[in-house]
């Protein structure tokens, strides 16, 4: 596993305490797991995602990410309806390891409550949390 300084955290996304990231894209919010989470899990072999049209409240478990010997639940940073899932992960779950902020995104959500996004941590706050 890498040292914190070797991990990549983007400035233009928001973070959760469970190591998801969220980014606004027009009306939608794109969600994935961040570099720390993918590094902790190691080589990802399977990503379980919800169905399009499913609705979740902030903090609900919406899927899971699996390595060979661990399963990690993933929690939704903002309430809303799933409008798109990353179909490419079915055949290539390693995209989450290779590029967790771009090709390795997980879901796109139509948010129900705009203020929830604003309450997520920015990079500095998240890094402070990691350093404990």
């Amino acid at each position: 596993m890498k040292e914190l300084k070797d991990l990549n955290f983007l400035d233009d996304v928001r973070y959760t305490k469970d190591h998801e990231w969220a980014k606004k894209s027009g009306e939608l919010v794109i969600i994935g797991i961040n570099d720390y989470a993918q590094d902790q899990l190691g080589e990802i072999v399977f990503v379980e995602l919800p169905g399009i049209g499913d609705s979740f409240s902030k903090g609900d478990e919406f899927g899971s990410v699996e390595s060979v010997k661990a399963v990690s639940e993933i929690y939704i940073p903002v309430s809303g309806e799933i409008v798109e899932i990353n179909q490419g992960l079915e055949d290539a779950p390693e995209l989450v390891n290779q590029s967790c902020y771009t090709d390795g995104w997980l879901i796109k959500v139509k948010p129900g409550n705009a203020s929830e996004f604003d309450s997520l941590m920015d990079k500095a706050a998240y890094l402070n949390m990691l350093k404990g």
């Binding site: 072999v45 010997k69 399963v71």
Partner: protein
Amino acid sequence: MRYLPHTQDDIESMLKVTGHASLDDLFAGIPDHLKTKQGIDIPESLSEWELNAHMEQLASLNIACKDYKCFLGAGSYDHYIPAIIPYLISRSEFMTAYTPYQPEVSQGTLQGIYEFQTMITELLGMDIATASHYDCGTALAEACLIALRKNHTDNKIAVSSLVHPSHRQIIQTYIHPAGYEMVEIPYTKEGLTDVVALEKMEGIAGVAVQSPNFFGNIEDLKAFKTTADTKNILFIMSFTEALAYGLLKNPGSLGADLVAGEGQSLGIAKSFGGPGLGLLAGTQKQMRNLPGRLIGKTKDANGADGFVLTLATREQHIRREKASSNICSNNGLNAMTAAMYLATVGKTGIREIALQNHDKAEYLKKSLMNSDFTPAFSTPFFNEFVMKAPDGFEKKRKALIQDKCIFAGMNLEPYYPELKQHYLFCATETISKCDIDHLVKEVQS
């Protein structure tokens, strides 16, 4: 004791290293009030020769002599077991290994079970077969749980009343504590599960049908598939006689989502009902819902083909309280036995044996009809069928077991009280024409 290698010298020199005064001193950390005050009150130890005598005496109290004739099935079947099977399965590299956690030194078990998975998918026409469960009943209960968990609105599972009575009881035990319910589908006067009754049922998450059913009759699985599709529920199919699928259309081709079966017929001794072999197979879509171990193909660091336990994240030791099942040890050695059996009989052998089972059962049925027995149903069957016996048969049946070592069928009344004087008969390839003629003569006398 010959299993304990320690000499007095060994014990003394080892105690010196550990720093204990005596063997009892090793347990000094256990508070005295927790130690037992009495020894274990069991019989004195036996020499190997005394043990042989004792065990043979017990074994002889069972009516299971070498040339006994078994016209009894109902979930445990008498089939020929080729000599090479007990010989090969006794190889201690198979028998005394554990779960293949270290694949580099477990390729024998791993390739063997991978071949088992492959041949079971071929036999059943399914995409995926697990590395085994305890028996058909427990595998079927697991399949019912899959259907129930997948469905978030309905909490009932519809189970045919012609699923093996013990299997229905196991399902009930397994699903009850989680708040699920089993509803039984009645049977028709043809001795088949009533698909019309199923159509009318509401609030069900899945349907389970056994074929050949407990009466030996072959179910119209297509009709159940259609109903399951209409209701958008999982279709689970089960069987107790695996050799039937050497002849019948396989469950996969008839649209089963999940198949639970008993593999005892595939080279495994009856052994008073266990250990048998639970088979659990599913479609590709069910891959991650299937409980139990799976073996997968991969490569080693040098690029050579090899096998490993895979998809372990479904299992209890990783998913812990979220695992769908707690199964850990399965019936791996019996899965290996079944693989050996399937490789031994091969494509032509399995068909010929299946045909002989059916032929003998037809001949037995015809012969019994000539001796005052009436067929209960006229539905096609594999190697078991139901007959109404003439008066006084129960007494004769017991005498035949006691005096002649012939098991002439099983009384169905304890399981189906409405079927008074009805018996379930079975004939397999181990029964000759001569045996059947002899049985008939005895029954008529």
